[in-house]
């Protein structure tokens, strides 16, 4: 932390500088907020209002028809049932995938820090590569494998893919966290005769809340926002919300209903935005932990 006296304003010319700083910040805040504001304003306008107004003009009248249509009757490719079903698909994919990958990450992190064996450090290094590979390099073999397993175009298949490729990150999170948990605690428990799982449940998990929160938020955002796996491994009514949104927006037939598109985009963004607003601190921690070291 800086000492508060170090970089503070001292003279009247510095005061002018302060005004300048605030002006730039205000401009930047507008730039970052603009797309969200525009999306919302557009979503509550009628099409006539959109045609006559501008991006940032206030709606003549707030109409929420576009939201209803986006949710239940807009066309996403062939089907015209809105994005509600796809929203549900994403939930069905995200919940198990986040739970399984977090749990496995916790167990892996526990082994890799408290029960190291010959080669476990090397394995961790090899696993980290999974955080960096461009997924294009595994797309084709996985498509074939999902076909063999009968999981092509299923929710279970997508859960499987997300667990597999989320594992490197979750293991990294828990490993880096458990490194800081004193090993003496574990040693003492071992001498007292506690077994592998007892130590995990009684000693490690109770202190893991912060990292579980970070890991869950990270995985939730990653999986909810995924498009690549969704577009390759899901078809028709098993597609996640991101794919449905893209289909809705890029459908070339019919009149473009920008208000419906914007409403659908906000719907697709709501869960992760909500997570960010409610748990922003942990979100940032996840971003930095998942990327600085990984």
């Amino acid at each position: 932390m800086h000492d508060s006296t170090v970089l503070g304003p001292q003279t009247s010319s510095a005061k002018l500088g302060r005004i300048f700083i605030y002006a730039i910040l205000a401009f930047l805040v507008l730039f970052y907020l603009m797309p969200l504001v525009v999306m919302f304003l557009t979503s509550v306008k009628s099409m006539a209002d959109i045609r006559t107004g501008t991006l940032i003009s206030w709606p003549k009248e707030f109409v929420f028809d576009a939201w209803g249509k986006a949710w239940s009757s807009a066309c996403t490719g062939v089907a015209c049932e809105g994005v509600s079903g796809y929203f549900l698909n994403s939930i069905k994919i995200v919940l198990p995938a986040v739970f399984i990958s977090t749990f496995l990450g916790a167990l892996n992190g526990y082994v890799l820090t408290k029960w190291k064996f010959k080669g476990s450090d090397l394995f961790f290094g090899l696993l980290l590569f999974g955080c960096f590979i461009p997924f294009q390099v595994v797309l084709l073999p996985m498509a074939q494998t999902l076909g063999w397993l009968g999981l092509a175009n299923t929710t279970a298949g997508l859960v499987f893919v997300h667990v597999v490729y989320g594992m490197a990150f979750t293991t990294l999170f828990f490993r880096n966290f458990y490194v800081s948990v004193p090993s003496e605690l574990v040693s003492a428990a071992k001498i007292d005769g506690a077994g592998f799982f007892t130590i995990f449940w009684r000693i490690l998990l109770p202190v893991s809340t912060p990292i579980i929160v970070v890991c869950v938020i990270w995985q939730f955002t990653q999986i909810w926002n995924d498009f690549l796996f969704g577009v390759v491994y899901a078809a028709g009514d098993t597609q996640p919300i991101t794919v449905a949104l893209n289909n809705l927006v890029n459908t070339s037939t019919g009149v473009k209903e920008y208000n419906v598109e914007m409403a659908a985009a906000i719907i697709a963004a709501l869960p992760t935005l909500l997570v960010y607003v409610l748990a922003g601190k942990y979100f940032v921690r996840g971003l930095t932990a998942g990327s600085v070291k990984g």
Binding site: M142, N225, V231, A268, Y276
Partner: protein
């Protein structure tokens, strides 16, 4: 710990207990071997075959790579990656550092401003692409807004202009990711020992000079991490292109990731798609290996 275990007499159950950690880790070990390394090799093998709609395992030498480099669309995709990636990384770093320094000046409502800068990172690139596609819509978006303000001759048709469309990707991607760079640098700035800055101030150094000469150089590790992550995002960029331009007009905004998808899944040229995926991997490794090497050496010396 090992010593304690070794000294007590071995019961048969102990042997099983000793294996538990390995057993617990084994699913992950298996998954890593198969789904990461195995698949990379598998794709590598495919890239040396004539696979088209279906995989075909007859060795065809470097045919696909030759085809790839003769392919004009791949050339465009690679050029685009350099244009898009270069600008995206440069602007994100500059803007991120700038915003972090501004926020470091004991700003009122710092928390709220930080929240605003960073929220785009929570959105999917599909949502980001959809939003910017609307803002950049030539007839109804920004162009219309400026025209209505009285600038009748203003045109802003980058989205549908094949020479300029690639820059719209930069705008949207910078909007999405620069806040993250800001967060990294702000954390870095906050961890600097303030006594160094105080000493420099007593020596009469001005604030910009302190930042330029003392603070920023000490943030080199943060700078490199941010650079690596941004490179990684640029090479992987797929969703944003799909949502914002869908590679168009024509294939003027194709990137390697969209090229790979198009050739593997819609054009049925699995061999060529695999070769392009391997080139993407090579790109990531070319950046990553020197970075990891210097990181590991750094910690060993420390």
């Amino acid at each position: 710990m090992q010593v304690v275990v070794a000294k007590t007499k071995k019961k048969p159950l102990d042997f099983i207990a000793d294996q538990i950690p390995k057993l617990v880790l084994s699913p992950t070990i298996l998954m890593t071997i198969v789904f990461i390394y195995g698949y990379v090799i598998w794709t590598g093998v495919l890239s040396f075959t004539k696979s088209s709609f279906l995989p075909n395992y007859k060795f065809a030498g470097t045919l696909q790579y030759e085809k790839l480099f003769e392919n004009e669309r791949w050339g465009v995709a690679v050029d685009n990656l350099f244009i898009f990636g270069g600008l995206f990384i440069l602007i994100c770093l500059a803007l991120g550092i700038f915003m972090a320094i501004l926020l470091d000046q004991r700003i009122r409502a710092e928390g709220a401003i930080r929240t605003v800068f960073l929220y785009p990172m929570a959105l999917s690139f599909i949502v980001t692409g959809t939003a910017w596609k609307w803002i950049l819509n030539p007839g109804l978006g920004l162009e219309r807004l400026v025209k209505d303000m009285g600038f009748e001759n203003f045109t802003f048709d980058w989205l549908i202009n094949s020479d300029m469309a690639i820059y719209t990707l930069v705008i949207a991607a910078v909007w999405q990711s620069s806040g993250f760079v800001m967060a990294l640098f702000l954390a870095g700035l906050r961890s600097i020992d303030s006594s160094i800055i105080k000493a420099a101030q007593i020596d009469g150094a001005s604030l910009p000079k302190i930042y330029w000469r003392i603070i920023l150089p000490s943030l080199r590790p943060v700078f490199f991490s941010a650079f690596i992550i941004l490179c990684h995002i640029a090479i992987k960029s797929f969703d944003l292109v799909k949502a914002l331009t869908n590679g168009g007009p024509g294939y003027s905004t194709d990137l390697p990731a969209t090229f790979m998808y198009a050739f593997s899944f819609t054009r049925g040229q699995i061999g060529l798609g695999s070769a392009s995926a391997m080139m993407m991997l090579a790109g990531v490794l070319a950046i990553l290996i020197p970075y990891l090497y210097s990181e590991l050496r750094g910690t060993r010396n420390a």
